[in-house]
């Protein structure tokens, strides 16, 4: 198909032009000045594009800092609340971190398990379609997960919350009362877990598939069971990769907005995960920004900056782990 097209366009191109000078075949163009100019122009554009990215990132930082400063230095009176900016953002950071950590705690074992299932347990014929399914799971927009979490999943969890608050309320996180809508921080965290699951799974699956066959076969030949082979050959090879996949998942969970904004009915920080209350930075911004002006706007931007710094630290740590262990992974 494409070949005939190529040919068609070549013919169309050549028929309109007049015959070139007789000696044209004898040489590729002798005057190459324009060609050299093209080279310089092209490399210049490429370089400029790369620099644009650096400028954009510097711009992100500069604009956010500039707009955030008024709120950070403002007194509680100016902010119209009884704490400074840090007193305001602290509970939000706590909410973000708690929700993300719960999500990661749930998603990591399950994600690694699925990855192992696909790479080492599932029949070969199933492995590839299953990989597609996981990728599709990752492609579903977060607002859809949010709607599902708020309207379906949260409601389904209410009986569980009722049971927890009835029998385990002596543990602070299962608080004295429970939400009757299920729109709690724990629900949000579990929705986040579902959302980061495909990320962890697809990264781990790729790693597990790259495990040197030689190592695996060596372990099996020594009479190891499948699990012992995985422990001896797969995990050591993939350790750094798993850590970085988890960190990337954490970064994603920290920055995820819509799922939390839709699921949570936000409120002040509480210890209980199953009653109404708590919020996260992204949800706070999403819910409040459209009605925010002046110092409130600045406050939300400052909160966004705090979020940016946290995710940046998590992501850089993830890359450092990878870089650190790359030499020891045994991969060529």
């Amino acid at each position: 198909m494409s070949q005939t097209e190529t040919r068609g366009s070549a013919v169309a191109q050549t028929t309109d032009t007049e015959q070139p000078p007789v000696d044209a075949p004898a040489g590729v163009p002798l005057d190459n000045r324009s060609g050299r100019f093209g080279d310089r122009l092209f490399s210049g554009i490429s370089l400029a594009a790369g620099i644009v990215i650096l400028v954009v990132l510097a711009g992100v930082a500069a604009f956010l800092i500039r707009d955030a400063i008024p709120a950070v230095v403002a007194s509680p009176e100016e902010l119209d609340r009884d704490t400074s900016f840090w007193g305001y953002v602290g509970p939000l950071v706590a909410g973000s971190v708690v929700a993300s950590l719960i999500a990661i705690l749930v998603a990591t074992p399950v994600g690694v398990g699925i990855a192992l299932f696909i790479s080492h347990y599932a029949p070969k014929r199933l492995a590839q379609p299953l990989g597609y399914v996981i990728d599709l799971l990752a492609a579903i927009p977060s607002v859809v997960y949010g709607a599902w979490g708020a309207l379906v999943f949260g409601a389904a969890l209410v009986p569980g919350y009722a049971w927890l608050s009835e029998h385990l309320s002596f543990i602070p996180i299962f608080g004295p009362t429970h939400s009757t809508t299920g729109r709690t921080l724990l629900t949000a965290a579990l929705v986040l877990a579902v959302m980061v699951l495909p990320i962890i799974t697809s990264l781990c699956r790729e790693l597990f598939l790259q495990t040197p066959k030689l190592h695996e076969e060596a372990a099996l030949a020594l009479g190891a069971t499948r699990w012992e082979m995985i422990k001896a050959a797969v995990f050591p090879f993939a350790r750094a990769g798993i850590v970085s996949a988890v960190m990337l998942g954490l970064g994603r969970a920290l920055g995820e907005t819509m799922a939390v904004a839709l699921v949570l009915s936000p409120g002040p920080l509480t210890a209980s995960l199953i009653s109404t209350g708590n919020s996260t930075i992204p949800a706070e911004i999403a819910l409040g920004f459209s009605e925010a002006f002046g110092i409130r706007r600045s406050e939300l931007i400052a909160a966004g900056l705090v979020l940016f710094v946290i995710t940046l630290v998590v992501n850089v740590l993830a890359r450092l782990v990878v870089a650190r262990y790359k030499d020891f992974s045994g991969a060529n």
């Binding site: 494409s2 590729v28 190459n32 050299r36 080279d39 092209f42 490399s43 490429s46 370089l47 400029a48 594009a49 790369g50 990215i53 650096l54 990132l57 992100v60 604009f63 956010l64 707009d67 399950v110 994600g111 690694v112 699925i114 192992l116 299932f117 347990y121 599932a122 399914v133 599709l136 579903i140 927009p141 977060s142 607002v143 859809v144 709607a147 599902w148 309207l151 379906v152 999943f153 499948r226 699990w227 995985i230 990337l248 920290l254 920055g255 907005t257 819509m258 839709l262 992204p282 911004i285 999403a286 920004f289 459209s290 939300l300 931007i301 900056l305 979020l307 995710t311 940046l312 992501n315």
Partner: protein, 369 residues
């Protein structure tokens, strides 16, 4: 079968559990669990959870007694790994079923794809909820907004991303600048989408009159911040796998470097580049947060990216759920939200599928005799 073969077979299978063991143990666990449930009141999740809690140790004990410790541990982890997979399928199935069950009625509302929210009021919604009229309102404005904003973001991101990748792969010789760009592209990948939105808002807020800064173009700028790193990473990977031999073949014919890149390297990698771009589009078309803070909300059709508020599908879903058109009759709003969600997911799936097809269709033909 000869006696010897029988003997050998039995010596290798001796001390192994028969193949039906897991099924038998599973059935037993379910039965016992049903018994427990009948004492405390039956419910489906409880039944399955307790059955699973019984199944795992029984399998372990059974395998350990018959097959030895090693095999017992192996069985134990096999059960856990397979359980993880089944557990992960539950939310996926639930999401898909919910989308179809709740989304189809919305999608089938009259004029859902062809009208906007301009004439859908809380009165019409209350009437619809009371069963006295159809659910009015549709997603045309959001669909058009999504397409325009995403298109604008693509127009901004693809040239920047493509040329940056060309710089990284073809021109930079691993100098400090290329390492800086690579590092910061990685950093950009991790920017939370809401922060990208704030950036777009802050940038346009200071460039134009703040009153006018909420518009489709602002959202496109914010989305570009999310899209550029995705485009760069996939394109760099695709350019790297173009064999050096092809570049050399072109240079050896006395072809300029830029012509080599445009006419040899990029055509060879075009399928991968195009599918990467499509995946990037699929990612940003589902983004809500950046648009929420940059494009405002609109109930009517707006096709001008540079003027006035604009609606997109994800924001439409969010607003319908968060601020229903009629606070006393939320049913029609939820119905429209699910309808829009179904459309959005179909759109994203179509883009993902398109990415795979592009990758296959444009791949250089290896054979063709």
């Amino acid at each position: 079968m000869s006696a010897v073969a029988t003997l050998q077979k039995s010596s290798l299978t001796a001390g192994r559990l028969p193949r039906w063991t897991p099924w038998a143990v599973g059935a037993g666990a379910l039965a016992v669990s049903a018994g427990i449930m009948s004492l405390i009141g039956f419910n489906l999740p409880g039944w399955i959870v307790i059955a699973w809690l019984l199944f795992v140790p029984s399998m372990f004990v059974a395998a350990r007694t018959v097959e030895g410790h090693q095999a017992g541990v192996d069985r134990f982890w096999t059960v856990l790994v397979c359980s993880a997979f089944v557990l992960a399928l539950l939310p996926l199935v639930s999401v898909i079923v919910t989308l179809l069950v709740n989304g189809l009625p919305g999608l089938l509302d009259p004029g859902f794809l062809a009208s906007t929210m301009q004439y859908a009021t809380s009165q019409t919604d209350q009437a619809a909820a009371a069963g006295e009229g159809p659910v009015y309102g549709g997603i045309l404005h959001a669909l058009v907004g999504s397409v325009l904003v995403t298109l604008a973001a693509t127009v901004i991101s693809v040239p920047i991303g493509l040329f940056t990748s060309i710089y990284l792969v073809e021109y930079s010789q691993d100098g400090w600048l290329s390492r800086a760009i690579t590092f910061f592209v990685d950093v950009m990948t991790g920017i939370p989408s809401i922060v990208a939105g704030l950036f777009g808002a802050a940038l346009l807020f200071s460039l134009v009159d703040p009153q006018d800064s909420l518009m489709g173009f602002t959202a496109a700028v914010a989305l570009s911040v999310l899209m550029i790193p995705v485009v760069v990473r996939s394109t760099v990977e695709m350019l790297r796998v173009v064999p050096n031999e092809l570049r050399e073949a072109s240079y050896a014919l006395g072809v300029r470097k830029w012509r080599t890149i445009v006419q040899v390297v990029i055509p060879t990698a075009i399928s991968g580049i195009a599918s990467g771009v499509t995946l990037a589009i699929a990612r940003v078309i589902g983004e809500t947060a950046p648009i929420l803070v940059t494009a405002g909300v609109a109930v009517r059709l707006n096709t001008n990216l540079f003027n006035d508020w604009m609606m997109t599908l994800p924001v439409f879903i969010f607003r319908q759920l968060q601020n229903p058109t009629s606070p006393t009759a939320v049913g029609p709003s939820i119905e429209r939200a699910w309808g829009a969600a179904l459309v959005l997911v179909l759109l994203v799936m179509a883009l993902n599928l398109a990415a795979r097809l592009i990758a296959r269709a444009f791949a250089p033909k290896q054979t063709g005799r």
